[in-house]
Symmetry: C2
Amino acid sequence: MIKTKKQGLLIVLSGPSGSGKNTVCDEVKKGNKNIWESISMTSRKPRNSEVNGEAYYFVSKEEFEKNIKDGKMLEYAEFAGNYYGTLTDSVFKHLNNGEDVILVIEIQGALQIKKKIPQAIFVFLLPPSMQELKRRLIGRKTESKDKVMERFETAYKEINELSKYNYVIVNDEVKAAASKLMAIIKAERCRVDRIEEVFLDNLEEKIHEKLVDKNLENKPLEMNNLK
Amino acid sequence: MIKTKKQGLLIVLSGPSGSGKNTVCDEVKKGNKNIWESISMTSRKPRNSEVNGEAYYFVSKEEFEKNIKDGKMLEYAEFAGNYYGTLTDSVFKHLNNGEDVILVIEIQGALQIKKKIPQAIFVFLLPPSMQELKRRLIGRKTESKDKVMERFETAYKEINELSKYNYVIVNDEVKAAASKLMAIIKAERCRVDRIEEVFLDNLEEKIHEKLVDKNLENKPLEMNNLK
């Protein structure tokens, strides 16, 4: 009856540090096998247990800069002297394969994608309150007080970018937030602009013709009549 | 953290006769107590068991025409010499009460609403195939062959209006179709344009000030400090 576009959906999930982006994304992937989470490329050195191709593809600074120069990056940003970004090709390989692709990225990168692919789905994840955000950032215990303060200040600024997104989810509980994101994906698949074609196939056209054929009016409407 | 608009969502569900609009709507209402299904007003005579205020409000032709003249109808149409329509006031009473309102109406009425309230959510329900639609229409056994043919022809025409809707759902299975409609409602509640205000309340602002106050840098971040 309808033919939807074969290409998957591109979902961009952003939110301040401590909003729980990665946890929510993991929960969504658990419940939905057709979602592929994009793997970022970075020029930073791998830490102890980090395996290339898991959380990141690790490349040299030179290689990253060559990718930028060659126009291969869908988005990228520099943090603390290291590059982080997404390769256009790897995202489109999965999209064209019919998979939905989720990018868990910073706001800076998300806004670059919005310029290139405005029809992507932009979702902003918020902590339940700034107080809870503070608790989560301090709770990590892996970062200095200065770093926590910096992240907290960044969060304040980032929340102003919220209006550039399509959806906002308050992450007060991971399962509830993931369920909202799954609803967004399910709903977006029903959008009329995702339909490529409405088709009334040959047999259906025939049925239609037979139905409006006055000569057949008194014959029973059975499939046998339509051959 | 965010304050969403108190007003409920207005969902307009249309689709050809035999697409299963009412069945899907009933299923959605079962799973969602915050949805109110609007009751249409009609000038047609009640049938045997029909109770006023259940499926319809029954009024005289004169009364209906007075409502039209007084601008009280959100939408209306005439079928077979009878008026059918929706009172603006009753819809807004429920919306302003924070309830979501679903209107199960014909395409003609839906397009009138689109002009007045473009931010309403327009959902088009399709049968799985025209063949299945034919089966359903014939299966009703309550209508003459002419009526079935007329409905079938109307369905063909109506499907062309699909592009004016936001979402399309193929009703191959009632529970699956209802689940898609529920996902649409859940997703629409997360839309950024549903947010009235992002607030960082007083206490949170205080926390922020304390966090960036260098003099407090060595003091522990406890709630007690913030009073």
